[in-house]
Symmetry: C2
Amino acid sequence: MSGYAVRQAITETLGHFWSESFGQIYPALARLEEEGLIRRAGDGQTSGSTFCLTTTGRRHLVNLLREPMPTPPPRNGTLLRLFFGRLLGVDECRSIVIDALARAEASLDELSAVHADVESDTDPNAPFWLLTVSAGEHSARAQIAWATEALEILDGIAD
Amino acid sequence: MSGYAVRQAITETLGHFWSESFGQIYPALARLEEEGLIRRAGDGQTSGSTFCLTTTGRRHLVNLLREPMPTPPPRNGTLLRLFFGRLLGVDECRSIVIDALARAEASLDELSAVHADVESDTDPNAPFWLLTVSAGEHSARAQIAWATEALEILDGIAD
DNA sequence: TATGTCATGTAACTGGTTACATGATTGC
DNA sequence: GCAATCATGTAACCAGTTACATGACATA
């Protein structure tokens, strides 16, 4: 793939759980080529630079996938705002929750469509892809359930 | 509060949805004081520097809380690994899922305890805090449900 | 010929962590 | 007297985005 195609693939198929910018991708491709983990695919016909994994590159990839997961520090802007909700007032909190609810519903719709596609895909990778889609769906449904409960709690605040 | 106390408060009570390091906190305190948003609380007795919000600082805080939320680019290491699960093999995938399950269960346990505490708290902020706790619980339960389903899917892969 | 998409790349900046240096205070 | 914790801060570094510069190629 070319750097451009890599970007496309990431935003289109990993979009709901991963992202990379060009500023990461192109320097990374240069470094990976230098390290012999990828090489320029000399198809001859296509201009420019499309790359493919070398065998050591593939081995390296598998090692990377095996590495323990760095748990990134949590940062949830919605919850931070709600934590200080009393400064903001119940109404503004309600609109924050409603926003989150709308986002979750939109995301669930998208994912359901993807789910159907992946389920009928005969690619041997498809079951693994399904795991990621299903995770997104569970998360979206949880957000929807939470938002509903949250609105009830907000209604119960006298203030 | 002092910078140290701010750090403590963040890790102890916002821990499951926010984090800050000293490298952020101390420079921020200096900047905020310069901008007149906080001031040194001259209690006289305590040495060092404990700060409190000024009235403009409080106003500024509310404005910050009102700001639209920057949606950070998603990055989920667990799902990235599972997406390439075929390279890794079903067994390694299973252990990744089991790990996630264990983390979610531990987190749910913690949050349930916090939930009980917050629910019996008479502080007028408590209902807002409950919103954040409840979000964590919903998210943890969703992860548990997903993991269970994921293990079933993995069992169904012939390979 | 102009416009849009494909395509590659770099530089500046931002947000953030980590590691380190330093010292005061408290309790054993 | 010593260890642990409280406490403040800085410097180096890292990951990552954004904005910009550039240009090929297709098509209306």
